[in-house]
């Protein structure tokens, strides 16, 4: 018997994990330093500044700003629509990625490129496009100007590529033999998708969803023209921040920013947790 080879490696042998830290070499130390400095200058310090500005009026002030009727409505609309759009994108983005990877059809190359248009288009141009298509002079006879549908539409437009682009490469890398193995073990197409393919795609879907959500709640350019920015109805958080600054009230602008920041962060964390769960459950 080949027991020597078949014997376990022992739990310790394969567990030389990087966790806990080996001492850094000078080069990787320098690398880490540069990365941290860069990250601090671009992200951490500005973020901290926003938080500091927001807290200038104390927690009470912050709370007051945020619970102001008009501001709260703007935040609710923004977060709610971004969440809804992200849910739609999870389904549609995965579907489009699937079609792009698995199917062959005329015009596939063109579609591949067109998918990125919302990425590439300056958002105000996107706003202009949406206005001319779905505004008062719509050639399609669809007028959503000054309604919440306009916000939803604008979010959908600019967030379309995120999940498609994160899922597509992962799907393309999936080994067809894995699906054949599942089939020969008796799994239907649906079971194979749910138990085998979907868990493999979940990290990519989650990453795309986080990007899509974050882009949604920060969106400005593509919706200002079409939504009309009606207080309590179609005004979104970014517009609210801008009007606070225009009214010389940076504290209140920062307070809204902090709320958005917190929600964004929470969503990213939650998506990561969900993703891990789905992957583990299979």
């Amino acid at each position: 018997m080949t027991s020597a080879v078949l014997a376990p490696d022992g739990p310790a042998a394969n567990r030389r994990s990087a966790r806990g830290g080996l001492p850094l070499t000078p080069v990787s130390g320098l690398g880490l330093g540069v990365a941290m400095l860069w990250f601090s200058l671009l992200v951490l310090i500005p973020l901290a500044a926003v938080v500091v500005t927001a807290s200038q009026g104390g927690w009470g002030g912050l709370w007051q700003t945020v619970t102001n009727e008009q501001t709260a409505a703007a935040i609710r609309l923004t977060v709610g629509t971004a969440a809804l759009v992200t849910l739609v994108n999870i389904v549609m983005g995965t579907l489009i990625a699937w079609v792009l990877v698995r199917d062959r059809f005329a015009g596939k190359r063109a579609l591949e490129i067109l998918i990125d248009v919302p990425f590439a288009l300056p958002t105000i141009v996107a706003g202009l496009v949406l206005l001319s298509l779905y505004g008062p002079d719509s050639p399609l006879g669809v007028n959503v100007a000054n309604t919440r549908a306009a916000v939803f539409l604008a979010f959908l437009f600019v967030t379309l590529p995120f999940i498609v682009r994160t899922v597509q490469p992962v799907l393309a890398e999936l080994d067809p033999e894995i699906e054949e193995a599942a089939a020969s073990l008796g799994a239907s197409r649906l079971t194979t998708f749910r138990r085998i393919i979907l868990p493999s795609l979940t990290p990519a879907i989650a990453a795309g969803a986080a990007l899509s959500f974050a882009r949604g709640i920060s969106e400005y350019g593509s919706l200002v023209l079409l939504s009309g920015n009606l207080p309590m109805r179609t005004e979104v958080a970014s517009v609210r921040i801008l009007s606070s600054i225009e009214n010389d009230n940076p504290d209140s602008a920062a307070a809204v920013a902090v709320v958005l920041l917190t929600i964004s962060f929470a969503v990213i964390v939650v998506l990561d947790l969900v993703q891990r769960r789905v992957v583990r459950r299979g």
């Binding site: 080949t2 376990p8 020969s184 008796g186 493999s200």
Partner: protein, 336 residues
């Protein structure tokens, strides 16, 4: 649990992968589909599994016509060359997959999986992910996963092809022993004639989409049906119009018997215990002869020595003109 393959044909575009193949694979045995790459053996295996559909012909598994059954309904275990592990599932969950989707009771699944993990010596790795296993371990996991659903037949597509030579040899011995324990009708595809000769009860030699010969390893080796089988199963050399194995040639120093072919030694190479001698006959043909070291020393041969060659009695030989391949494929084309 026999498999009957009758008149199966398969084309991929203009390429004929299988051409009217009929094989019956007996129950409970370990059968090898042996042949060069691109010869159609993997296609045949995939047709048995239902992963590929035959253009023509019938497949019967255990007396049931499976020709148009989807893979899910065939109850075959399939093992892939590159493991096809479910990467996000632990070893245990991989093995349990087929049982879980059959909605077996949890306790039953647990017991069965434990049993299988013991069978493939992976008990200690049950909670690892496939990426934390070596290639050999992954393939054993794939084997346990395929066996979990108690398949009617077990199909292995170049199961050891991705492994290094040493692990490959060990797994091959192990598969043979496993088969002696489990007795499930097993078909495996290989392009390695040594693997087939060593492990299989029965070998089906497939080349260019056709079956060249079917039989137990000894029969194939000792009585090859044609020059292809002869060449594919081991080293050959040509003496006159005969294909013969280099170790079946006898070499005589000096003047030989009347039937012997005279020549001169033009090269001697030693590889371990084996001596490879190149003899150029008086007719100008270069013939390879292999001897053991002891035989070589006993004969007292040296470079440039004149010798005579004979074929050892009862050795397998095939006339090189037994089946000119060009005309065979020409007649095939004409019949279409």
């Amino acid at each position: 649990m026999s498999i009957e393959i009758a008149n199966v044909g398969k084309r991929f575009g203009g390429f004929v992968a299988l051409d009217d193949v009929s094989v019956s694979i007996p129950a409970g045995q370990l059968t090898a589909l042996l042949g060069p790459s691109g010869g159609g053996k993997s296609t045949l295996l995939r047709i048995i599994a239902g992963l590929e559909r035959a253009d023509t012909g019938r497949v019967e598994i255990d007396g049931v016509d499976a020709t148009s059954l989807p893979p899910q309904k065939r109850n075959v275990g399939f093992v892939f060359q590159h493991y096809a592990a479910f990467k996000h599932l632990s070893v245990r969950r991989n093995v349990a997959f087929g049982l879980e989707i059959r909605k077996r009771p949890k306790a039953d699944i647990r017991n069965r999986v434990d049993e299988l993990l013991a069978l493939v010596h992976l008990e200690q790795f049950a909670d690892r992910l496939p990426s934390q296993l070596s290639g050999g371990q992954r393939q054993r996991m794939a084997l346990a996963r395929a066996l979990a659903v108690e398949p009617t037949v077990l199909l292995l597509d170049e199961p050891f092809g991705a492994l290094d030579a040493k692990v490959r040899k060990e797994l091959r011995d192990w598969l043979r022993r496993l088969h002696d324990e489990v007795h499930v009708t097993t078909v495996f595809v290989t392009h390695d004639q040594e693997e087939a000769l060593e492990v299989a009860d029965e070998i089906v030699v497939i080349n260019e989409g056709r079956v060249e010969q079917i039989g137990p390893p000894d029969e194939l080796y000792d009585r090859p049906a044609n020059d292809f089988v002869m060449r594919f199963l081991g080293p050959v050399t040509q003496l006159g119009g005969l294909l013969v194995r280099p170790h079946d040639l006898q070499i005589h120093a000096g003047d030989g018997k009347p039937a012997a072919v005279p020549g001169r030694i033009t090269r001697i190479t030693r590889v371990g215990f084996e001596i490879r001698i190149e003899v150029t006959t008086n007719a100008g043909q270069v013939v390879a002869v292999t001897l053991t070291r002891n035989e070589f020393l006993a004969l007292g041969l040296h470079d440039r020595a004149s010798v005579h060659l004979t074929v050892a009695p009862d050795s397998p030989t095939v006339a090189t003109t037994s089946r000119p391949r060009a005309s065979a494929s020409a007649s095939l084309a004409a019949s279409r």
